[in-house]
Symmetry: C2
Subunit: 413 residues, 2 copies
């Protein structure tokens, strides 16, 4: 599995994971000596135009003059950079299909989507082409492809890993995350980004299995997660608890996932329009049909809803902060459904969350929005499968408890 | 002082504070009913190109399609927007002089700079043209002009107020802040942005007067702050303590302000180059001489220093988090010097922090960087003057304790 110094060109082209391969040498030596990583094409590597998965974007933006801060950190710790990976168009999708650049291979389920928007980063790691990959996660873009491709995926606490050199999508939720084949590699690279001090590993005080999150999942996902949940129960005994969202969040704030998802979507759409709307209006880029449909949603938002959504978000954040002790964990399925089959995943229908079409988006965002609203770190663990199709189980910790969370994940894996 | 529905054109032109005046009506009703606000021209107002204080930027960027989230919040709470204010060029200065757009009036000290980069927002409030103004603060750009112009200035905890629709400068430090003539107006507008719940006011547990910060200040600043410090001592008794930076931050992390300032500058320069360097290399904009000198610094940075600076920043952040209880405060002079005189403030010499020139920048950043490194909220209070020239005193609280801090400020003012 250890990648050679040059990526095998056949494997690279079969994976459809990369927009470019190259070798940027390490600038230092440390915890990542000898490893190589890939970078989602939403993150700057000096000398390359960050394409963001759209040809007009690539043509109308300058070459990145320097590496993003997160890339500098990995290079300084001894890793080398092997290439840039396909992203869903403008990072605005969870499927992993790019109208212009194709669909990276999900080697664990080749007839299914890899998940997005860090699709190429997930594919590159899952195909064994790199040791670890940088992704970005606004609404699930690291966690969903990690779950779909049978990988470990890490979304950090907000405002801990620098987003300088990363194209903004929705700044209140944008994070730089990681995909890795093992918990050890994940923790190793994550500790470099977090720049944390090693602390003695701690046992969780409580692991809250969120009832409504499992109820939302398809039967095959629930079934697949039964065994890993049983494993957690054996390990943690009565510290593993069935907890309802109402207990976590208190009453009176729309204590159901659909209401949380709505709050998230209002803010995400408002911010995406701020970040990309001017360019779209001005450059009139050619957009894939699914991306065009998604952006239409952001234009249709009644922006008088924004202030109220900020208030609801802050209420949810405060309740989660009060509920979660420093060594408490939340446990949910990473996604409520298996990765859609390539033949069935209609990106346009999936993009339109408010129609009679697919419910994949609202159901998935209902689970993934919890980390974003609460500013919490989350790891998706590849602990299960349904007939060979990967199913991820997620653990979340309190804000700033990323190191503790990664230690628990290593101990479990 | 209450501004009329239309800004008096004579007063507006005398202030040199605005790049455009207009009236965007409120979209709701609430805590800010009847108030009007101005917006720094680094923040989007729908229908206007955000100029960022540079003519080439204005000419090469599209019209903002929507208001920034922070603008939406104030409009929804009942305030109306009266115009956009001058910013220092690309927000990369603390002086308040714009080579292209002029120097907004500091009405409290007309022969001195207003301070920047939220120079026009400070001037508009200090001239009584608006009730409150939005600014941005990366390295001091709200706090410094607040201190220079005799205003209350608020920099929030990181990641609490949305930066969507705000042009990024250095994302690890960028915040949206406020300038106001009174503590009541400041708190009123700040609570809208923070979307917090009202909590019962709490007395501070401890107010730590940071010895090194006062030692760094000029004698006239120390002298001016003697009386307000005496006032704090009478109010808080032995809860007011002289505390050294070494006590706050522990040993072994370069426990002096110069080392903290160096850490801040490495990260700020690294991120500014990521955010603006591509555009500068590509668009080859005409820059004012001071801005050109500042950007030259960002290009000269040895980027192998970034990873180590992130580690030092996180160490400082953790020490501050351990030290500061939820109702503890830190107290420092907002700036170490009076606002430079217009005749003496050479922007180019000031921009070059590492020469034999002015020491205004490194000394000022040494004090302002504490909030940025620690992700802490800070309020500059206009409690003093030196021969009529305003001098601000600053209070900082633990991350997320913005509401508590604003309550203390109201009680003091």
């Amino acid at each position: 599995m250890t990648p050679s110094n040059r990526l095998a060109s056949r494997a690279v082209s079969d994976s459809h994971a990369f927009v470019a391969t190259f070798s940027v040498p390490t600038t230092g030596s440390g915890a990542l000596d000898g490893l190589c990583f890939a970078v989602k094409d939403l993150i700057d590597v000096a000398g390359w135009t960050t394409g963001c998965g759209n040809p007009t974007w690539r043509a109308t933006h300058p070459v990145a003059p320097v590496h993003a801060v997160c890339v500098e950190q990995l290079l300084a710790a001894g890793a080398r950079c092997a290439g840039k990976t396909v992203t869903d168009e403008l990072a605005f999708s969870l499927l992993g299909r790019n109208h212009f650049e194709g669909t990276p291979l999900n080697p664990r389920a080749p007839d299914r989507v890899p998940g997005g928007s860090s699709s190429g980063s997930a594919s590159a790691v899952a195909c064994g082409l790199v040791d670890v990959a940088l992704g970005t996660d606004t609404g699930g873009s690291v966690r969903v492809p990690a779950s779909n491709c049978g990988l470990f995926g890490f979304r950090p606490s907000h405002d801990v890993v620098s987003v300088a050199g990363v194209n903004p999508l929705a700044p209140s939720f944008d994070t730089v995350g990681l995909l890795a084949p093992t918990a050890d590699l994940l923790a190793l690279a994550a500790q470099v980004l977090l720049a944390g001090e090693p602390e003695p590993p701690r046992e969780p005080t409580a692991v809250h299995v969120i009832t409504e999150a499992f109820a939302l999942a398809d039967p095959e996902v629930r079934q697949a997660l039964r065994k890993p949940l049983q494993g957690l129960r054996e390990r943690f005994g009565d510290r593993l608890r069935e907890t309802s969202l109402a207990e976590v969040a208190g009453d009176g704030i729309g204590a159901g996932f659909p209401a949380w998802c709505d709050t998230y979507c209002v803010l995400q759409w408002a911010e995406i329009r701020s970040c990309l709307g001017g360019w779209i209006d001005d450059a009139r880029p050619v957009l894939g049909p699914a991306t065009a449909a998604s952006f239409a949603l952001t234009s249709q938002l009644d922006r008088r809803r924004i202030a109220e959504a900020v208030e609801r978000r802050e209420r949810i954040h405060r309740r989660l902060r009060r509920f979660l002790g420093p060594h408490d964990l939340l446990c949910l399925p990473t996604t409520p459904a298996l990765a859609p089959r390539l033949a069935e995943a209609d990106p346009v229908r999936s993009a339109l969350t408010s129609g009679s079409g697919s419910t994949y988006y609202p159901r998935t965002l209902a689970l993934t929005c919890l980390a974003g609203l609460g500013r919490l770190p989350q790891v998706s663990l590849p602990l299960a499968d349904a007939g060979g199709v990967p199913v991820g189980l997620s653990l979340l910790a309190a804000h700033g408890q990323d190191g503790f969370l990664l230690d628990v994940v290593r101990a479990l894996a």
